[in-house]
């Protein structure tokens, strides 16, 4: 056990580094995915039949295919067409496109919960569609759907483990490298799994905390 302590001291700086890469990649994907999610929601609720159909196909595609297949398509397709996409960009974009589909569905329930009277009032005060969205709808939608958005971020962190296949040194990739250096797969992968568990559990805790605080206030 003492032995393990010594080895753990060797593992953890690398794993921490990988965990930070995972975390910021997921946060970037999540934020970009939020913008995409709002866009897809707006397309899906517009009057144009073409936009509605596009939003429907988008959501069905990104929810109906594996993240790994989406990532490979996004990384290798431009390469096949003669463009070079950096792995980090492909990974962030794939995460954003994927979570955008899920977030559009989460946001839809938030938008639906806002009373129609507010939009009518905004129209009467001649507040534009864009400003209504940014200043009236979105702040309320985010607050209403925050627990679901945090649980979506947890899913993004879990699904992000596959970006290791396009050689991004996230938590998963770093642990694979440690295994090939130490030949101790059991303990390295266990420690890596615990890192993920800590990340997802802390976020879950934060989500519950925020939910409770906002419930107490309203």
């Amino acid at each position: 056990m003492d032995d393990f302590g010594v080895r753990f001291a060797l593992y953890w700086p690398a794993l921490l580094d990988g965990a930070l890469t995972t975390l910021w990649l997921c946060l970037a994907g999540m934020l970009l995915g939020f913008v995409l999610g709002v866009l897809i929601y707006l397309l899906g609720s517009s009057r144009s039949r073409g936009c509605v159909a596009f939003a429907g196909v988008y959501v069905s595609f990104f929810r109906g295919t594996p993240m790994l297949a989406q990532l490979l398509l996004l990384f290798y397709l431009p390469a096949g067409l003669g463009m070079d996409v950096p792995a980090l960009v492909a990974a962030g974009l794939a995460l954003a496109l994927n979570t955008g589909a899920y977030q559009s569905q989460i946001l839809r329930s938030g938008f639906a919960a806002i009373p129609a009277g507010q939009l009518e009032a905004a129209a009467v005060f001649s507040i534009g569609r864009w400003r209504t969205l940014l200043h009236i709808q979105l702040p309320q939608v985010v607050r209403l759907t925050l627990p679901a958005l945090i649980s979506e971020l947890i899913d993004v962190i879990k699904v992000s483990a596959v970006v290791s296949v396009i050689s991004i040194t996230d938590l998963m990739r770093v642990s694979q490298q440690l295994v090939s250096q130490t030949y101790r797969p059991l303990e390295v992968y266990l420690v890596a799994a615990l890192f993920y568990l800590a990340l997802t559990s802390l976020l879950a805790l934060l989500g519950r905390q925020l939910e409770r605080r906002w419930q107490a206030r309203s």
Partner: protein, 211 residues
């Protein structure tokens, strides 16, 4: 496209590992849920299991099983490891779905069953199980879809399923576009079909509620 037979075989491997993983996972999830109801102290084990499985990525679980278990003397080949990992993974989600399905059966029915002298086991099998499963069918179908999607990760430990085969065709032919487009389209079609089937089965199973 002389690689189409490879692709067909790969589709069968994907179907094989996903459906056997999901079927075993449903069985394990059902057992976990039943134990939670029957054994008073089991709830702590149940919660720990669900927390561990749902808090970590499937890839980490798969690597732990495939590369970590041999350290303990249990060596599985890539397909066995994938099926075991998919089973353990989906069981946690299935168990949670079944927990909510069991909660959907009104408590009055359990009291009525008790008054009529049904034993706990009779109530479980004849009152709760049929209604809960009918209620849960669309959700269970959704979990099967998630399992099919996770099975793509098995390509990383060299299971010759769809994703790995597409990658092999790419490295043999240097054509990127067709194999990867075909890959996502196959998954899409597969998950759409399972979704429709689950919705149809769900409607059939809850017909009695609509009279």
């Amino acid at each position: 496209m002389n690689h189409l037979p490879d692709f067909g075989h790969a589709l069968l491997v994907t179907l094989g590992i996903s459906f056997s993983g999901a079927a075993l996972g449903l069985l394990l999830g059902f057992t976990l849920n039943a134990l939670r109801l029957a054994v008073p102290g089991f709830i702590a084990v149940y919660r720990l299991y669900v927390w561990l499985v749902r808090g970590t990525p499937f890839l980490a679980q798969l690597l732990l099983i495939y590369f970590g278990l041999p350290v303990l003397g249990v060596t599985l080949d890539a397909i066995e490891a994938s099926i075991l990992a998919l089973c353990l993974y989906s069981a946690a989600y299935f168990a949670e779905l079944l927990r909510s399905a069991w909660a959907s059966v009104p408590i009055g029915q359990l009291e009525a069953a008790q008054v009529h002298g049904l034993s706990g086991i009779q109530t479980f099998w004849h009152i709760q199980t049929p209604q809960a499963l009918a209620f849960a069918l669309p959700l269970l179908g959704n979990q099967v879809i998630l399992t099919i999607k996770e099975s793509a990760v098995a390509s990383i430990i060299t299971v010759p399923e769809l994703t790995m085969t597409a990658g092999q065709i790419v490295s043999n032919t240097f054509s990127y576009v067709v194999p990867y487009v075909l890959l996502v389209l196959s998954y899409w079609l597969l998950t759409l079909l399972v979704g429709f089937a689950a919705a149809a089965l769900g409607r059939r199973a809850t017909r009695y509620l609509r009279g």
